[in-house]
C-alpha cells in the first residue's frame, strides 16, 4: 500500500513537474522568410539567419563579431596555405560523421556556378585532406582574411547531398524544386521540424549538438513566423504573440519600450549610407551643365559634403537613431578610425565659396536617385538632402523608387547622383575598396579611379603582414577622405524588440544567435 502511494505521488509529481520543465520556446518574427534552406543558393540576410541555426561553418562570429571556432577548432596560415583543424566527434542531424571529406565537398559546392557564395571562396585554389580532421586550403597568393570570408560558408554532408541529388546548389534554369530547398541536414544547434514558407518554420534543439553545455543559451524550440507588414509585426509583439522582433520600425521603438514586459536594444549596424557622385563621365546625364561634369571638380564634391547637414538628418529624419559620418564604412570594420570618421562639418558659406571657385556660383541642376524601400528612412533622407543642397543653389530633382528599379541604375552605371548603403560581412576594408573604390569595382558607379587606391586594393588582398596591411588601408582611406568620391551620411542603427524575460545579445550584423539567448 505504501509502495503504491509513493508511486502515486511520484506520478503526480511528474505531472505537476512537467509544466515547470516546460520548453523554452522562442517565438521570433521579422519581415521576410528565408528564401531557401539550401545553404549555398542565396547570400541574403534572412536566409543566412535561418540556415545559420541549422548549418555551421568552420569559423563563426560571436555577438561582438569576433571570430570564433565552430567546426574548425583552430587554423593557421603560412603563405598561400591555410590549415584548419576540424572539431572531432561532430555529427550531422541524420547521424553521419562530419569530417574532412564534407569540408572539401562543401567548398566545392560553394564554388559551383550556381552557388551564390562563389565570391567568398573565389581565392581558394584547392582543398585537400591531410587526415580525417585536418584540411589544407591553398589560395591564389596569400589571403590574410580567408577566415573572415568564410563565416557564412555552411558545411553540408557529402553523403546526404549525393543521396538526395543536391550536389549542386539550386539552379535557376532548372524547372524543378531542389530537395535542399525544404530539407536540411546540418551540424547546428537546431534541427528543422517543420517548414511552411512565409507561414511558420519550427526548429528544435539538437540533443546531440557538440556545443551542448558550452554556450549559455537555453532555447529548446524556435518558432519563426515572418510578418511582412511592419505595423502588424509590432502588434504581434505588443500582444504577446511573439517574443522577438528582429526588425521593428524605428518609429515604434519608444512605443515598445514603454510597454510593460517589453524592451528594445540598439547597436550601430555595420551598414553605412552615402551618396555616390559620377565623376567619371564627361557630361552628366541629368544636369543643365553641358560639355563638362561638375563632379569631376573636387571642390564641388566638397561643397556638397559641406552643404548637407548630417547632424540635422540624424536629429530630424532619424530621430537620433543614426551615427553621422564622413566615412563609407562603419566602426567595427578594420580601417575605420575615429579620425577618418570625423565629420567634414556643415558650413554653407564655405560650400558656396567652393561652388563659386569651381565656376558654379549659381549652382546647377541634377537628379538624385534614391530607393524608397531599402534603408531606414531612405526617401526622407533624400528629401532632406534636396532641401539642403538648394541652399547652395543646386536644384535637385529627386527620383525615389523601389529598390528593384533603383539598384539596376547603379549596376548599369546610368545614375549621376545616387544613394547606396554598404554592409561589410568580412569586417575588413578590402571588401569596401574592392567593390566601391577600385576603378573596376562592381558597385563603383562613381567612375572614381585613383591609381594608388587601385594599387592598395590589390596589395591588401594578399599582404599578410598585419601592421603593413593596416598602414596601407589607412593610407587609402586618407586619400579617399581628401578626394571625396562619395558623400557619406551616416551609419545605420540596428534595433531589436523583445520580451523582458529574454536576454538576446544584439549583434551589429543583424544575425540572432540563439546559442547565446537566455529565457528567464
Amino acid at each position: 500500500m505504501k509502495k503504491l502511494t509513493i508511486t502515486a505521488i511520484a506520478c503526480a509529481a511528474t505531472i505537476i513537474a512537467t509544466p515547470v520543465m516546460a520548453e523554452n520556446v522562442l517565438r521570433w518574427t521579422s519581415q521576410g522568410d528565408a528564401l531557401t534552406l539550401d545553404p549555398h543558393a542565396q547570400n541574403e540576410g534572412p536566409t543566412i539567419g535561418m540556415n545559420g541555426q541549422i548549418y555551421e561553418s568552420l569559423v563563426t562570429r560571436d555577438a561582438s563579431l569576433a571570430l570564433q571556432p565552430e567546426l574548425a577548432e583552430s587554423w593557421t596560415a603560412d603563405g598561400d596555405t591555410w590549415v584548419f583543424n576540424l572539431r572531432k566527434g561532430v555529427k550531422f542531424h541524420d547521424g553521419a560523421d562530419f569530417n574532412a571529406e564534407d569540408v572539401i565537398f562543401s567548398i566545392e559546392r560553394a564554388k559551383a556556378p550556381t552557388s551564390d557564395f562563389k565570391e567568398q571562396v573565389a581565392s581558394i585554389v584547392s582543398v585537400t585532406a591531410k587526415d580525417d580532421h585536418t584540411i589544407e586550403i591553398k589560395t591564389d597568393g596569400p589571403n590574410p582574411i580567408l577566415p573572415n570570408q568564410i563565416t557564412s560558408l555552411f558545411m553540408v554532408d557529402k553523403g546526404w547531398a549525393e543521396a538526395n541529388n543536391v550536389v549542386l546548389p539550386q539552379n535557376y534554369a532548372e524547372k524543378e524544386e531542389s530537395y535542399a530547398v525544404r530539407n536540411t541536414n546540418g551540424t547546428g544547434p537546431f534541427v528543422l521540424t517543420s517548414r511552411a514558407p512565409d507561414e511558420l518554420t519550427t526548429l528544435e534543439a539538437n540533443a546531440d549538438w557538440w556545443g551542448k553545455g558550452l554556450f549559455p543559451g537555453n532555447i529548446d524550440k524556435i518558432e519563426y513566423r515572418p510578418i511582412s507588414n511592419a505595423a502588424t509585426r509590432v502588434a504581434a509583439l505588443l500582444s504577446g504573440e511573439v517574443d522577438f522582433v528582429l526588425d521593428p520600425p524605428l518609429q515604434d521603438l519608444a512605443r515598445i519600450d514603454s510597454t510593460d514586459g517589453l524592451k528594445t536594444t540598439t547597436t550601430p549596424q555595420v551598414r553605412s549610407i552615402f551618396f555616390g557622385m559620377d565623376q567619371g563621365i564627361e557630361e552628366l546625364r541629368t544636369s543643365d551643365v553641358k560639355g563638362k561634369n561638375p563632379f569631376k571638380d573636387v571642390r564641388v564634391r566638397e561643397a556638397f559634403n559641406l552643404a548637407i547637414d548630417k547632424q540635422a538628418i540624424q536629429r530630424v529624419v532619424m530621430e537620433g537613431l543614426s551615427f553621422p559620418t564622413a566615412m563609407i564604412t562603419s566602426p567595427g570594420v578594420l580601417g575605420n578610425t575615429p579620425d577618418l570618421d570625423a565629420s567634414y562639418g556643415h558650413d554653407l558659406e564655405k560650400a558656396k565659396g567652393l561652388m563659386a571657385e569651381a565656376g558654379y556660383p549659381d549652382g546647377f541642376t541634377i537628379q538624385l536617385d534614391c530607393p524608397n524601400n531599402r534603408y531606414n528612412n531612405d526617401e526622407k533622407i533624400c528629401q532632406a538632402s534636396v532641401a539642403m543642397l538648394a541652399r547652395i543653389g543646386v536644384t535637385v530633382k529627386l527620383d525615389a523608387i523601389p529598390k528593384a528599379q533603383h539598384f539596376p541604375k547603379i549596376q548599369k552605371r546610368t545614375s549621376d547622383f545616387y544613394m547606396l548603403g554598404w554592409g561589410v560581412p568580412t569586417l575588413d576594408s578590402h571588401y569596401v575598396f574592392s567593390y566601391l573604390l577600385d576603378a573596376e569595382g562592381s558597385w563603383n558607379a562613381t567612375g572614381y579611379n585613383n591609381a594608388r587606391v587601385n594599387e592598395i586594393t590589390s596589395a591588401i588582398a594578399t599582404e599578410t603582414d598585419i601592421e603593413k596591411r593596416t598602414m596601407l588601408i589607412d593610407e587609402a582611406w586618407n586619400i579617399v577622405r581628401d578626394e571625396k568620391p562619395y558623400l557619406p551620411i551616416h551609419h545605420q542603427v540596428l534595433a531589436w524588440g523583445m520580451a523582458d524575460n529574454f536576454d538576446i545579445p544584439i549583434a551589429a550584423d543583424d544575425f540572432p544567435r540563439p546559442r547565446f539567448m537566455v529565457k528567464n
Binding site: T36, Q42, Y172, S178, E199, S228, A404, Q405, P408, S442
Partner: protein, 323 residues
C-alpha cells in the same frame, strides 16, 4: 445557345490574350530581379550569367511567346524567390484565400441583407441612421487602416484574437482548412471582417435602395390588402424581388475579393495568394506575377461567363436578342 457560349468563350480568350500581353510587358518596368537573386558581392559576370539563364535579355515579345508556350504546356516556371514551382505554390495558397473570401462573403451577405432590409423598411429609426452612418466607414476608410485598427483593438488591447497569421489548420490532403478548429476561426475572424466591410456596405446600400423601391410597388400594396403578415411581405415578397441585382453584384465581387484580397492578406500575414503576389512584386518574381495575373484573368473570365449564362437562362430576351 451553343453559339452564344462559343462566341462568349472566343471573346474571353481574346480578352485574356490582351490582358496577359499588356501585363507581361509591364513587368519590364518593375525592375531587375537579378539584384534580389544574388548577394551584393556577386560579380557582374555572375549577374550576366543569371540574366542569360533566365532569358531576361531577350526581346519582350520573345519572352512573352516563351511564357505563353510554357504555360500552354502546363509549365508556369519556378519562383525566383522561393524556388518552388509556381503552379504548386498557387495551389498551396489558394485554400487560405478561398476560405477567407468565403467567410467574408458570408459575413457581408448576412449582415448586409439583414441590415439592408431593416434600414429599407424602418427608414427613419435611429438604429437605421446609425447603421447607415457607421457603414460609411466601410467605404471611406482604406482596408489597411481598418485592418490595423482591428488588430490594435482586438489583439493588442483586448487580447481576444490573434493579430495575424493562420493558426489551427487541419490537413485534408493538399487542402489545409482553418474552418474546423477554434484556433482557426479565431485567426480568420479579423481578416474576414476587414475584407467584408466594403462588400457589406455595398450590399447593405443596394438592398436598402431596392427595398425602398419595391415597397412602393403595387404588388406590395396588394399583398398588404390581402392581409399578409409584415414578415411575409418584407422577406417573402419584397426581399425576393430585390435579390436579382444583388446576386449579380455579389457574383462579380467574389472574383474581386479573391483577386484583390492582397491588402488584407498583407496586413494580417494571411498566407494566401494575395500575400504571395505582393511579395512577388516586391522581389520582381516574374514567374509568380505572370502566373497570378493569368489566374486572375481566368477567374474573371469564368465568372463573367457564368453570369452571362445565368442571365441568358433567367432572361430569355438576352438569348433571343443576341442569339
Amino acid at each position: 445557345m451553343l453559339a452564344f457560349i462559343a462566341r462568349r468563350l472566343a471573346q474571353s480568350i481574346l480578352v485574356m490574350a490582351v490582358v496577359s500581353a499588356v501585363a507581361f510587358s509591364l513587368f519590364n518596368f518593375v525592375g531587375d530581379p537579378v539584384n534580389n537573386m544574388v548577394g551584393q558581392d556577386a560579380t557582374r559576370e555572375r549577374r550576366a550569367e543569371i540574366r542569360l539563364q533566365l532569358g531576361l535579355d531577350d526581346p519582350i515579345p520573345v519572352q512573352y511567346v516563351r511564357f505563353i508556350g510554357n504555360m500552354l504546356q502546363g509549365d508556369f516556371g519556378v519562383s525566383y524567390r522561393i524556388k518552388q514551382p509556381v503552379d504548386q505554390l498557387i495551389l498551396e495558397r489558394l485554400p487560405a484565400t478561398l476560405e477567407l473570401v468565403f467567410v467574408s462573403a458570408i459575413i457581408s451577405l448576412v449582415v448586409g441583407i439583414v441590415a439592408g432590409v431593416y434600414t429599407g423598411i424602418h427608414r427613419n429609426s435611429w438604429i437605421s441612421r446609425s447603421i447607415l452612418s457607421s457603414s460609411l466607414i466601410g467605404v471611406s476608410l482604406p482596408t489597411f487602416i481598418i485592418g490595423i485598427a482591428l488588430i490594435y483593438i482586438f489583439a493588442v488591447h483586448l487580447r481576444w484574437l490573434p493579430s495575424s497569421g493562420r493558426a489551427g489548420t487541419i490537413d485534408f490532403g493538399w487542402w489545409k482548412t482553418s474552418l474546423l478548429s477554434l484556433e482557426g476561426w479565431r485567426s480568420i475572424v479579423l481578416p474576414a471582417i476587414t475584407l467584408s466591410l466594403f462588400q457589406l456596405t455595398m450590399i447593405l446600400r443596394l438592398v436598402r435602395a431596392e427595398m425602398m423601391e419595391v415597397m412602393q410597388t403595387d404588388f406590395i400594396k396588394f399583398a398588404r390588402a390581402r392581409g399578409l403578415s409584415e414578415r411575409a411581405i418584407n422577406y417573402g415578397h419584397a426581399l425576393r424581388n430585390t435579390l436579382v441585382p444583388v446576386i449579380t453584384i455579389i457574383g462579380l465581387n467574389i472574383g474581386g475579393l479573391i483577386a484583390f484580397s492582397v491588402i488584407t492578406e498583407t496586413v494580417f500575414q494571411w498566407p494566401g495568394t494575395g500575400l504571395m503576389f505582393i511579395q512577388a512584386v516586391d522581389f520582381v518574381d516574374v514567374p509568380i506575377m505572370s502566373a497570378y495575373l493569368v489566374f486572375v484573368a481566368i477567374l474573371f473570365v469564368v465568372i463573367n461567363l457564368v453570369v452571362d449564362l445565368l442571365y441568358a437562362a433567367v432572361d430569355p430576351r438576352i438569348r433571343i436578342g443576341n442569339g
